[in-house]
């Protein structure tokens, strides 16, 4: 009897460990921000609490990697179906705020077929944007000809405002990205 109980306890402990292993890690509290949307409204991370949020950093005149990242996110947006906007939000923060005004961001979003019910494009003062980028671990530096070098880093934040996982670069698997978003939606 005792052996049976011990065995059952071990199995349960193993299952719990497996579940914990499969769960996305907890990195820490996601830094809050207060920036201006494509519609001119102030948007904070705090206001998105209750949704799973993907935060990324781009700029609209970026010639190469940002469009690839944004296109990948647009395809994930389409694949998420009704959860997008209701349960999941995307936030793209411009690292070129002097050029990327709300109007420019709105045009960019429309050109991408971004669903603005769930996808917000943000800008702000250069100091505010630099601060947010820095707090998310994104290095930003102006390049010689008006381009902006920056880390391509996309951060997933759970409903409680906790940073759970980051995606580096633009070559990540969009299906894994979608899966992680849905896992966070389904977490209690």
């Amino acid at each position: 009897m005792l052996a049976l109980l011990t065995s059952s306890t071990l199995v349960l402990a193993h299952e719990a460990a497996d579940q914990e292993e499969q769960r996305l890690p907890t990195i820490g509290a996601a830094p809050d921000f207060a920036l201006t949307s494509q519609d001119g409204a102030e948007v904070t991370l705090e206001a998105l609490r209750g949704k799973v949020v993907a935060v990324t950093f781009i700029y609209t005149s970026c010639p190469d990697v940002c469009p690839m990242l944004t296109d990948k996110m647009a395809r994930v947006q389409d694949a998420l179906g009704p959860d997008f906007g209701t349960e999941i939000a995307f936030v793209s923060i411009s690292v070129d705020p002097e050029h990327d005004t709300p109007e420019v961001l709105k045009e960019y979003a429309e050109a991408l077929d971004a669903d603005l019910a769930g996808w917000t494009f943000l800008t702000g003062t250069p100091a505010a944007v630099r601060d947010v980028a820095h707090r998310y671990g994104v290095a930003v530096a102006p390049a010689a000809d008006g381009q902006v070098d920056h880390t391509l880093l996309t951060t997933l934040i759970d409903r409680h405002g906790t940073m759970r996982v980051q995606y580096l670069g633009y070559r990540f698997d969009p299906e894994e990205f979608r899966h992680d978003l849905l896992d966070l939606v389904n977490e209690p």
């Binding site: 509290a29 290095a139 381009q147 880390t151 070559r171």
Partner: protein
């Protein structure tokens, strides 16, 4: 020498504008605690393969480091020795060399693999394979150099006894193993960028093994990031942030090889833009997620042990001299 202007003049831009001003104040990433120290010292080296270490500065700043120093450790002094005496915090070297430092009792800790490759074995006729090194004059900078360990392991792997079957030729002071090979005084030479590029520019193109593509070498990290053991132990947050910055820099090299190459030139790490670009484009810097650092260290430690080159038990060395917690956490937290 070809130096192409490049729009992504990252390091130069940072220097001109003031990195702290561009990237914000250090230590403000909220997710983890701030690093226990904001100073970090890396080695100034001419080895182009370590490109991520030369473009890492902005990424380190975004991780909270404010004082980033590149230390000229002196020619011919093993970085493991410099690390062990605390004059350097982190460096990168061949995994087998890290094992050797551990075997000597040097207090260093390997924390993660950086890349596969990028050694090329140049050889004169009639050498066509590693096995053909038997009885040949093989040039190395010195006994206990990384090339010495790597060739020894390769030789052992094909059944040779590196101590008995190879005639090692070390370089006299003021000369290099590359010069000896180019002058015909040795018959084989294991080069590491920029040496292969330099040899090719002198007309030597005969390569019998390239660790980027040839198995089993291509299946393991060549080069390990390792640090002073006390520094790693006393600065776990800083260590993890440093490692994250290195992997971000590695991603930058993969995504923007031309920009990275130009930064190496601007930063004074090489004069040769074309050498840097060729190297950065050929080295797979994006395998840190896929490859297993522990497996690589074990592979090389066991091969050194089989070659009779270790005094200590390899398992003990690996247990005492590695800490994979940081890279394992980053693999979960930082997908790529």
């Amino acid at each position: 020498m070809q130096i192409r202007p490049n729009r992504r003049d990252f390091l130069a831009g940072l220097s001109a504008a003031g990195a702290a001003g561009i990237l914000g104040t250090p230590g403000s990433l909220a997710a983890e605690g701030a690093p226990e120290t904001t100073t970090i010292r890396l080695k100034q080296s001419a080895a182009i393969c370590f490109a991520p270490a030369y473009v890492v500065e902005p990424f380190l700043r975004s991780e909270g480091f404010a004082d980033i120093q590149y230390v000229d450790a002196g020619l011919g002094i093993p970085s493991g020795e410099v690390l062990a005496r605390g004059d350097l915090d982190f460096d990168i070297t061949f995994a087998g060399t890290v094992v050797h430092h551990l075997d000597l009792g040097r207090p260093v800790t390997a924390v993660g693999g950086l890349h596969v490759g990028c050694y090329e074995l140049f050889a004169r006729e009639p050498i066509r394979s590693v096995r053909d090194l038997k009885g040949r004059r093989v040039g190395i900078q010195s006994i206990n150099s990384s090339a010495y360990f790597y060739i020894s392991i390769m030789a052992k792997h094909v059944g040779l006894d590196p101590n008995e079957d190879i005639e090692w030729v070390t370089s006299p002071e003021g000369s290099t193993a590359l010069d000896l090979f180019a002058a015909g005084e040795t018959e084989a030479f294991l080069g590491f960028p920029p040496e292969p590029q330099e040899l090719r520019s002198r007309g030597h193109r005969r390569v019998v093994l390239n660790t980027i593509v040839d198995r089993p070498w291509s299946q393991y990290f060549c080069c390990m990031i390792y640090g002073n053991a006390a520094w790693v132990r006393e600065h776990p947050v800083a260590t993890k942030r440093f490692l994250r910055a290195m992997y971000k820099a590695a991603e930058f090299c993969t995504a923007e090889p031309e920009a990275a190459a130009q930064q190496l030139v601007d930063g004074g790490f090489t004069e040769h833009y074309d050498y840097a670009l060729e190297t950065i484009e050929s080295v797979p810097y994006d395998l840190w997620h896929e490859y297993d650092s522990e497996d690589a260290m074990r592979f090389y430690a066991l091969r050194l042990h089989e070659s009779g080159m270790l005094n200590s038990n390899p398992n003990t060395l690996l247990a005492d001299g590695t800490d994979w917690r940081f890279v394992n956490e980053l693999k979960r937290e930082l997908k790529a």
